[in-house]
Symmetry: C2
């Protein structure tokens, strides 16, 4: 699940530029379970090209730098599938939200409420993205459909849980004897 695999994965869905790959990974279909920035994508693409796993074609444009459109090669596809065949690492979840939830008893209630709202907004944005993909896919790619549906399920669960149990967490913050009332400097 390195940037390398990410580029290869996105290119199996069609040609793309570095700019588009980054967009796809931070706002598009792939953002739900991975992401990357320019600083890692451009070097990765250059390396993939030197290894013969992708090809580039430059499309000059007036005023802007030429678009460098990358295509995956047959070797690239084989290498990508090969990399998916070796045992995957574990899925990881990093959650600043849960760190706040864990310490709700030591935090001011507003902070806890804000954290819940943020997490909910984030989950709703992800859900919207996944739902949008649902309709504009008239030629359904089965793997992408399954993955999307799984993501929708997860996000719905998260949102429902926060709606049903968010108040309990705020109450934990309220009922605590407020031993440390924020950074009282």
């Amino acid at each position: 699940m390195s940037v390398r695999s990410l580029c290869l994965a996105i290119l199996t869905f069609g040609d793309a530029t570095g700019y588009e790959i980054r967009k796809e990974s931070t706002e598009g279909r792939f953002s739900y379970f991975d992401d990357a920035s320019f600083g890692s994508i451009y070097p990765a693409l250059a390396r993939l090209e030197s290894e013969g796993l992708v090809t580039v074609r430059e499309e000059p444009q007036a005023g802007k730098p030429a678009r460098k459109v990358y295509s995956i090669t047959e070797e690239g596809r084989v290498e990508f599938v090969r990399s998916l065949c070796e045992p995957p690492g574990p899925d990881t979840y990093k959650s600043p939200f849960l760190l706040i939830a864990l310490n709700a008893g030591q935090l001011p209630p507003e902070i806890v409420r804000r954290a819940i709202d943020r997490r909910k907004a984030q989950a709703e944005a992800e859900l919207k993205l996944l739902m949008d993909g649902e309709k504009d896919e008239n030629c359904p790619h089965p793997g992408s459909r399954w993955t999307r549906e799984f993501g929708i399920g997860c996000m719905n669960f998260t949102i429902a849980y926060l709606n049903e149990h968010g108040d309990e967490l705020i109450r934990i913050a309220e009922e605590a004897a407020e031993p440390i009332p924020a950074a009282a400097e």
Copy 2:
């Protein structure tokens, strides 16, 4: 959610050594949403000590290196709460499993099945850990209870989804015209 915050967070639950902090973060209560290794924990603790946010007390042992037991100071608590009060970054989910699911149509069915089994096993292990914490907590820490319950919900959802829809994903791999039958070298 750096290693620094992680150490502080764990120390708010009681004194601990670097060794114990790492265990807690990779196998314990915190492993569900964060983790770290020795190479980052030991330097982080040394730095926290030099900043006065934790104190150390050495407990010599026969044969083994002395245990260095760390305690969080009042300044450490304040700094920790302060860090939790600033807007948290977004939760992130990195999923080698979903990358495989997305490309199920290009992969041999056994590989897909193995990936599902692995993901299920991982989720079951995390669930077990969370459930174990449930019983042995006779003096319930409310934030930790809420967080655990949320985690249990997520894991149950994941496991149920894989049980109910895993076969569909395997079928996607089976029904594909097998364009790339693994790395046929």
